[in-house]
């Protein structure tokens, strides 16, 4: 009897638990608060861009009360977010609005037939259309349809700790890679790693350096789609990357983004090549000392291959939207995107969210004063950049991307030569 009572109590508890859990039935469609749209991104409320997004959504919802309601759904992990989006599109149920990385070698999402065509909406509003770079719109136009709205194309730049540089006797950021290596050795001799690098996942920090080195030697077309990667420029980039890895922290081989960026933020390395999202972490980690971190354009080889001051950027991240049969929902999506890409929103995102958007952003003097010391420099450097080239790993095939960590680790550990690295990379990229 006692057992039966216990079993019944257990079952009741389980049912109650599951009933409670069942409240997560997705809400959507039109309700008392108007047409609802969901935005799927990695803008979690823990980071400044997420906080600003939440504020902007609140403002939009207030201004459109009873008409539209925007809801943010944030997935903290970028690869998981992309998997979620791909799965949703494959299942024929693309999210209302979502942030994804554009890759010209993989147009599966754009060609799925599941995405909204933005071209007519932009053509109807030339003022809005003029806010985007035509190059970006051209890249996103596939078979005459505009697959998405350019979201961000963040420049990767050198963030360096001026205190650690000065401690090693370096007062100016090096202009050439050979000067940088010499400075890096001095910094290493002073007891700190010269640069934060990592080889796990997408080898982001290392591939930023590699991309700068390759373009510094071979120019903007050093690794353009269709280019043979078994080239002198790639070989030289591999050679210098190997030297940089020797000046990095001991956990660079096998380390991931979090470890690499933490090494820089905690003063265990003197520089890092990263996107502007790092600024949020710099501000929160260093507080009043944050301005000791300066921003600089990458060195060159001073060989005329490319004009100094150019930037290597992250891939173009795009705001895609599900093709809608409901006209009201499509109107809501367009209304939100116009609001989100307005100058006012873009300025807030840049100044408060440390997130420069891929739209024309005009900062007032007051905005510039309110921007963090790093963001002001990033905007200045990005505006002055004579050229922008997308980071190499973002444009190579998925096979080559998958092999990058092991190739870089073999290079760092001396198991392959720079020449073998270039050959292996070309082989992987041509499969």
């Amino acid at each position: 009897m006692k057992r039966k009572i216990l079993a019944a109590a257990g079952l009741t508890a389980a049912v109650a638990l599951l009933a409670g859990c069942n409240s997560a039935v997705p809400s959507g469609g039109s309700g008392g608060s108007g047409t609802e749209i969901e935005i799927l991104s990695n803008f979690t409320s823990d980071v400044s861009r997420g906080k600003v997004l939440d504020d902007l959504i609140a403002q939009f919802n207030e201004e459109n009360a009873g008409k539209y309601t925007v809801v943010s759904k944030a997935q903290p992990d970028w690869p998981t977010l992309q998997q979620q989006i791909r799965s949703s599109i494959s299942a024929g149920d693309a999210p209302d609005v979502f942030l994804y990385n554009y890759n010209p070698t993989d147009l599966s999402r754009e060609e799925s037939g599941q995405l909204m065509d933005w071209s007519s909406h932009l053509d109807d509003d030339p003022e809005w259309k003029a806010r985007f770079k035509q190059d970006n719109l051209d890249a996103l136009t596939i078979d005459g349809q505009l697959a998405g709205i350019p979201g961000d194309q963040s420049p990767t730049l050198f963030y360096y700790n001026t205190e650690l540089f000065e401690q090693a006797g370096i007062t100016e950021f090096p202009a050439t890679w050979d000067e940088y290596l010499a400075a890096g050795q001095k910094i290493k001799d002073s007891g700190v790693a010269a640069i934060s690098l990592m080889t796990a996942d997408d080898s982001w920090h290392t591939m930023n350096a590699f991309s700068y080195l390759a373009t510094a030697e071979g120019g903007p077309e050093a690794y353009a789609p269709g280019t043979d990667l078994d080239s002198p420029a790639i070989t030289k980039a591999a050679d210098y990357t190997k030297r940089l890895l020797a000046l990095s922290t001991p956990d660079a081989v096998g380390g991931n983004y979090a470890a690499s960026s933490s090494n820089f933020l905690n003063g265990q390395s003197a520089s890092i090549i990263d996107g502007p999202w790092l600024i949020s972490s710099i501000q929160s980690t260093l507080g009043d000392d944050a301005c000791k971190i300066a921003v600089a354009a990458a060195p060159t080889f001073d060989n005329g291959a490319i004009e100094p001051g150019y930037t290597v950027t992250d891939s173009l991240n795009v705001w895609g939207a599900a093709k809608q049969s409901d006209e009201e929902k499509e109107e809501a999506v367009v209304a939100w995107m116009k609001f989100f890409t307005s100058n006012e929103s873009a300025v807030r995102m840049a100044v408060e969210g440390e997130y420069p958007m891929a739209v024309q952003t005009e900062l007032s003097d007051a905005d510039k004063e309110n921007a963090s010391c790093q963001m002001a420099q990033v905007i200045e450097l990005a505006n002055a950049a004579p050229a922008s080239i997308v980071q190499m790993a973002r444009g190579i095939t998925t096979d080559a991307q998958a092999q990058l960590p092991s190739l870089l680790e073999s290079l760092a550990l001396g198991q392959t030569t720079p020449e073998q690295f270039a050959t292996s990379l070309q082989t992987a990229n041509s499969q």
């Binding site: 859990c21 997560a24 823990d46 980071v47 998981t80 998997q83 791909r86 949703s88 790092l278």
Partner: protein, 271 residues
């Protein structure tokens, strides 16, 4: 046993204990450090014990909701698998046409790389209208982990002497009655062992939990911990505190039921 033998035994036990416990101790210790302390002094004691990391982790994200969802999904999957495993194992005690093929079919899932099934699973879950729900996640876990539970339960049930079933049949018990009154109760130690393993496996699953949910009301604690380690920032002390909170239920379950698990695992071999 000689002194050398004893020393060897203690050395082996010591090494395995260290391998098992040191990462856990490191995790717990790091959860009381500051971010700078973790990197400056990764293996030392905290220079300042930050007990408020736990409060901050709980305040930053609704870990109690994530825990509830993890328990809900794991419990649903475990109940479904154990019940189905008991019934399947009992059915396979009897010889029938294609019984061997059925056994192979039910275990086939162990060989499948489940991550490759992500898109079809997403499609089915979405079609059933259980995307972004704990129930949907529990059903997926039930399918994914069924072979594991079935293997444990069947192995245990197979050790039940056939004479017991024969005696019950002579006493007039029918097919279903034998299952309910004889087979299932005698297999309960194996079923409990399977349940514990399944609960822990489902509780710790991340990939499907991350892809099949998008709301706080459905996300599990493993997904919740990822909020502290995002693409753009990594708050290790809070992430470690959240991880300790996240693994606490499974550790407690294991501590409470460790005798039962060991007894159930070895009981079958002595029958």
């Amino acid at each position: 046993m000689t002194i050398a033998g004893k020393s060897f035994r203690w050395a082996v036990l010591g090494i395995f204990t260290a391998i098992t416990l040191l990462p856990l101790l490191w995790l717990v210790m790091s959860s009381f450090k500051t971010q700078a302390d973790i990197f400056a002094n990764p293996f030392g004691l905290p220079s300042e014990w930050r007990f408020d990391n736990y409060g901050a982790a709980l305040a930053a994200h609704p870990l109690h909701l994530y825990l509830r969802n993890s328990l809900g999904a794991a419990l649903l999957a475990t109940v479904l698998i154990v019940v189905a495993s008991l019934m399947a194992s009992y059915a396979l005690l009897h010889r029938f046409r294609l019984s061997r093929a059925t056994f192979g079919f039910l275990l086939f899932g162990i060989l499948l790389p489940v991550n490759a099934l992500m898109t079809p699973i997403f499609f089915i879950v979405n079609m059933m209208g259980v995307y972004n729900t704990v129930v949907g996640l529990g059903l997926v876990y039930a399918g994914l982990f069924f072979p594991l539970g079935f293997l444990i339960v069947k192995t245990y049930m197979d050790t039940t002497p056939a004479e017991i079933f024969e005696a019950a049949r002579i006493d007039g018990a029918g097919f279903h009655s034998i299952f309910l009154r004889i087979a299932a109760p005698l297999t309960s130690p194996g079923a409990i062992t399977a349940a514990i393993f399944l609960m822990i496996t489902a509780f710790n699953e991340l990939l499907f939990a991350a892809v099949l949910t998008k709301d706080t009301d459905a996300q599990t604690v493993q997904v919740g911990v990822r909020y502290f380690l995002t693409t753009y920032s990594a708050n290790y002390p809070l992430a470690f505190a959240a991880t300790v909170i996240g693994i606490a239920p499974t550790v407690v379950i294991y501590i409470i039921l460790s005798d039962r698990i060991v007894a159930a695992m070895t009981a079958g071999s002595l029958k």
